[in-house]
Symmetry: C2
Subunit: 461 residues, 2 copies
C-alpha cells in the first residue's frame, strides 16, 4: 500500500465545505430561498448533465468553457451545464401546456432553481470551476412588471441577507443596440453588422481599463484586413459615443439625456421607455431609488439577452464583480421550438457572494456543529448507558451525540468536547452512576447542574 | 431558425423535477436531514468532480461505471463522483487534525453529505445515471457503538418518513470471509485466493435466482483453464456451505447456529461477536428487534467493506432493491495515507426511495406551488396597484404572486389561478377599486370575504 499511495488532492477551482462553512452557506441559501418563495417562484431541478447540443447553441465565449463528459454510448455527446437558464429553456420547450389534460407548464410561470454549474476555466486563474447559482425567472410575459419583480426580489434578497451596501445597475440591450444605428454601422462585404457591433461593445467594455481616450482611439482604428471587424468610426460618430459615455446624474436625468442623444432611434427609445416603466413599478413596490441605478455601460457577457439587463456589485467589495445578475431573454426557447418565448430572470453567484461576504467578515462561523448535546464517555463498560442517554435526548428533540473517543479520561473527553463545540455536555462518571444522576454542563454559560438520570429528558424538554 | 431547431430532449437516466415533485422530495430530504442532525452528523459538501485517481482505486465494477470529464488542461484527468464515501475518505486524508492549531478534522467524527452522484449505466437499462445520495458516516472509531448508531439512525429515518414496512438486513463481511477458511480455499499457482473467494461470493449471490441446487452445482464445477477462478469445492465443503445457507430463525438463533458451524474459525467468531454487540446496543437504544434482521446472505457490492454490512428493503416494494445501505470500511483512507482509519456509514438512495414511495402511493403532491396568494390582474392600467398589493402581502409574511397573464378577463384570470393552485386569490376589479376594497377568496374552503384595501396586510397577519 505504502508505495502506491494516492495523493489526496482536489483539483483547482473546486471547493470543500466543512461544517462551519457548510452551515453558514446553508443559512445564506435558505435566506435566499425564503425571499424567492415570497415572490412565488416555484422550485424545480434539472440534471447536471445535458446533451451537448442543448448547451452549445450559445456564444463561443461560453461554448469553449463547457466541460464535456464521456457518455455511456459512443454516439452520446454529453456536457455539464454552465448555467441553469439554458436547461430552463429546454424544460420549457419540452413541457408545453396542454389545457385539456392540465399537463405541462402553464405560462406565465415563475420558477427558481439552485445548484452547481460548471465552467472549464484554467485552474490557475483562481476562478471556480464548480459553483452554485440560485436562479429565478419569469417566463411567458413581455410585461415590464416581470422585470421589476426580478429587480425587487434582488433588492429584498440583499435586505434579507443583511447587506446594505450594494448597487443594482440597470441597462437595456435595446439602448446598446441603438448605438449601432446612432453611429450608422453597416455591414461590409466580408464582415457582418453583428460582428462589428460585438467588436464595438468589446471596446466600450474596456472603458474602465483604458479610459475614454483609449476607447476613442480604438473606435477609429482602420481594419487590418477585409475580415477585421474594427468599427472604423468617423470622428463625428466617435463624438456621439463619447457623449453617450459621458451621460451622468440621477436615473431620471440620465434617461432624459439619453433620450435627447438618441432622438428618433426606435430601438433606443423602446429601451428607455422600458426602463422608465420598470422604475415606476419599483416605486410602487417601495424599493428605495438609490439601490437601483441606471448605468448605460452594463452589457452582461451572455449574448442571449434582448432587453433589460442588470448586475449587482457590493460597494465594499467591488473586486468580486457582480454577485447577482440577469436580464430579459426573449429568444432562448426559439432554438428548440421555433417560436419566441419572452422571459426574464436573474441569478445569484452563490459562491462568489459567499466569498465576498467572507472577505467583508460578514460570514458567521459560530455554529460549527449541529450537535446540541455531547454525552462524554467516562466509564469503560457503560457504553450502553451512554447511547441510551443519547436516544433519550433525541426523543426530547435535541441533536445528541455520544463521544466515541477511546481515551475515557475526563481530560481527554473534555478536550474532545471543546473541539466539537456543542451547546451542552453530559458528564456521567463513576460517582454519577452510583447516584443515578448526570451533570449537565452548558458550554456557553459554563453553568453546571446535577440532574437525576430519569429527569434528563424533562430537563431538556 | 426553424430549419436548425434543436430537439429539447433529456438524456435517459436523468430526471427533471417539476414543482410538485420537487416540493415532495424536498420534504423527504428535510426529514432525513432532521434525523441525521439529531444523531449529531455534521454536514459537509465536496465537489462533484474529483481527480480520476481519487475515484478509480475501487473495484473494476464501479471503475467501469465512472463518467470521465474532459479537463481544462491536457494532463488533467477528472471524473464525476460515483458515491460520496470515496470523496469523504479523500477529505479525511487531506485534513488531518492539528491539535496546536486546532485545525483539521478531529476524530472520531460524524459527517453527513447529500448530493448527486453519477453512474455511467447504459441509458436503456432504466437505471438512473444521476441520483442523490444522503450519506452519514462515523470515522475514527472501531467501537460497535458506531455501527449501532448508524443502524439506529436508519431505523429512525424510516420512522420519521412514516414508513413502517421495512427490514434492515445485517451481516458481517468477516463471517463471509470466514467461509473461505471453512471450506479451505487456497491460492493456486495462477489464481489468487481473493479471486476464488470473489467468485464463490458471486455464486452465493445467485441463490435467489438459481436455488440451492444450482448454487451447489456451480460450486463444484471444474475450472475450464488455469486462470478460471471457479472454487471447485469438494462435496464435503459444499455440504458446509449448504448448512450455512440453511441457517434460519431469530437473530439469536441464527448467530448461535452460525457459531456452531464456524466453530474455531477466528474471523467468523469475531464477526459474530460484533453482531452480538451491535444488537445489544440497538436494544439499549430502543430499536424494535423485528426491524433489524441478521441475514448471512447480504454482501453489498462495493468491496471496500471490511466488517458489518447492512441494507434495507421496503417490504411492499422489494423490487426497488435496497434503499438505505452501508457498512464498515476500515481501509479506505489508507489508499491515501498508508494508515488504516476505521469508519462506518450508510447512505440513502434518495431517488430510488422516492420512486419506491411513489409506487406505493406514499408521495403527497398536494402542494404544487409555494405561492400562498395570487393577485389577479383584472384591470388594464392597474398593474402598479397589483404589484403594490403583492409587496404588502410579502411584508405580511405571505408568498405572493401577481398574475402576469395578458388576458385580463375574469374567466381567463380565474382559470390561470386554478392551474397555479395557490391557497388564496385576490380579486380586485373596477368595483373594488372604486370602493377601495379587495375580495379575498380562499380556494380551499371556497369562502370569499371583502376586505378594505388598507386592511389587507392585517387580514393576513
Amino acid at each position: 500500500m505504502q508505495s502506491n499511495k494516492v495523493k489526496p488532492e482536489r483539483p483547482g477551482g473546486f471547493i470543500d465545505f466543512l461544517p462551519a462553512d457548510y452551515l453558514a452557506r446553508k443559512k445564506m441559501l435558505e435566506t435566499i430561498e425564503g425571499v424567492f418563495f415570497s415572490f412565488g417562484f416555484d422550485p424545480i431541478e434539472t440534471p447536471i448533465i445535458e446533451f451537448t447540443k442543448i448547451l452549445s447553441g450559445e456564444t463561443s465565449e461560453t461554448g469553449k468553457n463547457i466541460f464535456h463528459v464521456t457518455g455511456s454510448e459512443a454516439d452520446e455527446s454529453l456536457s455539464l451545464r454552465f448555467d441553469q437558464t439554458v436547461p430552463f429553456a429546454r424544460l420549457l420547450a419540452s413541457n408545453p401546456y396542454n389545457a385539456k389534460k392540465r399537463k405541462g407548464i402553464r405560462l406565465p410561470w415563475r420558477r427558481m432553481a439552485v445548484g452547481p454549474v460548471f465552467r472549464k476555466e484554467t485552474p490557475q486563474s483562481g476562478r471556480y470551476r464548480q459553483f452554485y447559482q440560485f436562479d429565478a425567472d419569469i417566463a411567458g410575459t413581455t410585461s415590464m412588471m416581470a422585470d421589476a419583480e426580478i429587480l425587487a426580489m434582488m433588492y429584498r434578497t440583499f435586505e434579507a441577507l443583511g447587506i446594505s451596501k450594494f448597487v443594482i445597475r440597470l441597462n437595456n440591450r435595446k439602448i446598446l443596440n441603438g448605438l449601432t444605428d446612432l453611429v450608422g454601422i453597416k455591414e461590409r462585404e466580408t464582415v457582418s453588422k453583428n460582428d462589428i457591433t460585438q467588436e464595438m461593445m468589446r471596446i466600450l467594455d474596456k472603458l474602465d481599463k483604458i479610459g475614454l481616450d483609449g476607447v476613442e482611439a480604438l473606435l477609429q482604428e482602420t481594419p487590418v484586413n477585409d475580415f477585421d471587424p474594427k468599427p472604423n468610426l468617423s470622428p463625428e460618430d466617435v463624438q456621439k459615443i463619447s457623449r453617450f459615455l459621458a451621460i451622468q446624474g440621477g436615473n431620471t436625468e440620465k434617461i432624459a439625456q439619453c433620450k435627447e442623444l438618441f432622438n428618433d432611434i426606435q430601438q433606443a427609445a423602446e429601451g428607455l421607455a422600458e426602463l422608465e416603466e420598470i422604475l415606476s413599478c419599483l416605486e410602487a413596490m417601495n424599493i428605495p431609488e438609490e439601490y437601483v441605478s441606471v448605468d448605460f455601460s452594463i452589457a452582461r457577457g451572455l449574448d442571449y439577452y434582448t432587453g433589460p439587463v442588470m448586475e449587482t456589485s457590493l460597494s465594499d467589495a467591488p473586486e468580486f464583480g457582480s454577485v447577482f445578475s440577469g436580464g430579459r431573454y426573449n429568444d432562448l426557447v426559439s432554438r428548440f421550438t421555433g417560436n419566441e418565448l419572452p422571459a426574464v430572470g436573474a441569478s445569484v453567484g452563490v459562491d462568489r457572494l459567499f466569498a465576498a461576504l467572507d472577505h467583508l467578515d460578514l460570514i458567521d462561523r459560530e455554529k460549527s456543529t449541529v450537535t446540541d448535546v455531547l454525552v462524554l464517555r467516562l466509564e469503560a463498560g457503560q457504553d450502553k448507558a451512554y447511547i441510551e442517554m443519547a436516544d433519550q435526548l433525541r426523543r426530547a428533540g435535541k441533536n445528541a451525540e455520544v463521544s466515541m473517543l477511546d481515551d475515557v479520561t475526563f481530560k481527554g473527553q473534555f478536550n474532545y468536547a471543546i473541539s466539537r463545540n456543542p451547546h451542552y455536555m453530559i458528564i456521567c462518571g463513576e460517582d454519577e452512576f452510583k447516584k443515578n444522576t448526570v451533570q449537565v454542563k452548558n458550554l456557553r454559560t459554563r453553568e453546571q447542574v446535577e440532574v437525576d438520570q430519569p429527569e434528563l429528558v424533562n430537563y431538556f424538554k
